[in-house]
Symmetry: C2
Subunit: 393 residues, 2 copies
């Protein structure tokens, strides 16, 4: 068991009436001049954006709006936000949307209070020492960014997608009304749950398998997500299951399910390169890579994969054949991905085989020009990254 | 499923080396003149108290010490602390100990910044609007006060034990080194785990049983506590299981296992009166009352008790006899209590039967002079409280 720090100070206001509290929350955390950041037109069409802005203005706050954040959010939009905040003296950020909008907000927050170029943080050239305070009105459960210390930004200059982690960007509050996720299309719903489950699995596959407490909590959330996704695909307006997915998304990535365990994150890194090159949906890119990652690494700790197969995937434990049980758990996960419309390899993700050149390009970027390994469950060298992309293609 | 607010901002620093960080944490959260609050001589004998004070002084902080907190912590000690803090201009509190010391600290924190009498909060006559900031160096896992918004104080004037809840008292940080709990006697270890499990069970027995996500998390923690307590009773220096109990104690009471569910707390209220009258160990008083509470109320939601029996207590589900399964779950809990040395009724707790007068006195206080009900799973009127005490005696 590893020593750990657990710090998840975000105040979560969860439920149908939660949106009524956005102005009170901004005021509580000291906001006066507020940037409301959002994505496409769905936030406006649903009336949520106007509702939030109206409420903030009626509370006497000065409101600025900046929309247009896209999935795999872009550095150019972040720069636009930083400039706007500086020009107007904005002191609080409110993200209305999902992970992309929140991550864009976090990057703006870092950038406003930093003298240099905000990409420095994502490029590993600088460490943040502060961030403008931000709050969230969540519409898409997936990234867990509403409680996390992570953000991921794509730099169009070079098709590079990079994450940065620091406690300064933890949102002050997160307002979560599960009804706001009713209109999510099936694809985004399924990709969101895939991402949520992967945030848990990136921590679950560990050699610190003596931390039963965290393991039990992780399995409980995984089982719930696995059940709830079918209920909301069947009935998009099922409050109970939309709510469990929304809250599960936060718990999956606020640090709880990693306490005491070394986490991995290789699947995320492998998936990021797919998203950067093909603008692939994040959750779907993870599903396309995970089965190959799992088959490549499971022998590092077979009993962990056996536990996953039995406790999460409901596979019968063949005590005489642990490897067989472990592999049947991975197969069960593939069946689950297919059942919710996710790919299980890259061909299914992009509609064709990867070329050798594309594999080489992704390996180069994922290994940071052959200078860096990925993952901890099995430390992946350049040749391992290449093998997994080839298995997954 | 209920709407909810989840807010657990305490920074947890967990592990063997965590104690080295106490001065840095106090400085981070703005402390300059620090009251170190503790209980008996064990904190001094173990060297922990000196280690903490020395570290704070070497960091340039001014340190004041106040010991002598007893289990079921007293209002008189709280008043002494408030006076000391005001006299010396103390701006930060550090609790070194378990729930009693932390709760005493919280009450001091409320009192210092309040013009009236601190007991007003516990008597329900006033609402706190602030609290001096505090941090914790935890030695006894049980109360969960290191991350909770609760505190419980005993007023010697009238043998009254009362709790008060507000977000202001949430500790800024909690330093948790499981090794510090190695020297806990068997009785305190078992009573501590009983309290931890009861913090979960007070939330678990609910009519909001559609909140599967919270239910799964709760069951996972309960199962882990149930296993780990036997391991540490067998081997008090088992780091892994001491660690899981310590972290489990925080998760049990930081709000996580109540999200979306109406909580109950009747067992705690019934137990508090036993502690107030007989100075009984809190955890043991809970064990003495719970089986009777459970048998009195289980018909309000039999399927919840069936789930508890099967998923937590490992009872075989007799699908043809839900009531029988529910009752076998309660019996299994009694066997568990006995196995770890806890009582299952009040006779076992105090060594004799309660007198009728004692029952009447506890019923009067528990019902606040017959003016108040207790609990939510079943709302307990005065006559119900009396029935449960009679069943438990």
């Amino acid at each position: 068991m590893k020593d750990f720090v657990y710090y998840a100070p975000t105040e979560v206001v969860f439920g149908v009436e939660s949106e009524e509290k956005v102005a009170a929350e901004v005021l509580k955390y000291g906001g006066r001049k507020v940037l409301v950041h959002y994505g496409g037109q769905s936030a406006r069409k649903s009336g949520l954006l106007d509702k939030v802005c109206k409420q903030l203005r009626e509370a006497g706050l000065q409101v600025f709006e900046l929309g247009g954040v896209v999935p795999n959010p872009r550095l150019s939009k972040v720069r636009e936000g930083i400039e706007l905040c500086r020009r107007e003296g904005i002191d609080f950020l409110v993200a209305v949307g999902g992970g992309s909008v929140i991550d864009s907000c976090k990057a703006i927050g870092y950038g406003v209070v930093y003298q240099g170029d905000v990409w420095d943080f994502y490029a590993g050239k600088a460490k943040a020492e502060a961030c403008l305070p931000l709050g969230v009105v969540l519409t898409i459960p997936a990234a867990g960014s509403e409680m996390s210390e992570s953000s991921v930004i794509s730099n169009e200059d070079g098709d590079v997608k990079r994450g940065y982690t620091s406690p300064y960007c933890r949102p002050r509050f997160a307002i979560m009304n599960p009804e706001r996720s009713y209109t999510l299309p099936e694809w985004q719903t399924a990709a969101g749950v895939t991402d949520i489950m992967m945030h848990i699995m990136e921590r679950y596959f560990t050699h610190d398998d003596d931390m039963t407490l965290t393991t039990e909590v992780a399995e409980g959330i995984l089982r719930t997500m696995k059940d709830s996704v079918f209920e909301v695909l069947k009935d998009p307006c099922n409050y109970r299951h939309r709510a469990m997915i929304m809250w599960g998304g936060s718990l999956a990535h606020n640090g709880l399910v990693g306490c005491g365990m070394q986490d991995d994150w290789a699947t995320h890194q492998l998936g990021h390169e797919l998203s950067a090159l093909f603008d692939a949906t994040h959750g779907a890119a993870l599903a396309a890579v995970w089965p190959s990652w799992a088959r490549y690494v499971y022998r590092e700790n077979v009993s962990r994969f056996v536990r996953f197969a039995v406790e999460v995937m409901g596979v019968e434990n063949d005590y005489s054949d642990p490897e067989g049980t472990a592999l049947r758990g991975i197969e069960a996960m593939e069946r689950f991905y297919h059942a919710i419309g996710m790919p299980v390899n890259i061909h299914e993700l992009i509609g064709r085989d990867l070329t050798d050149d594309e594999i080489q390009e992704m390996v180069r970027k994922c290994s940071r020009d052959y200078s860096m390994t990925q993952g901890h469950f099995k430390v992946l060298e350049t040749k391992d990254l290449e093998s997994i992309y080839r298995m997954a293609r």
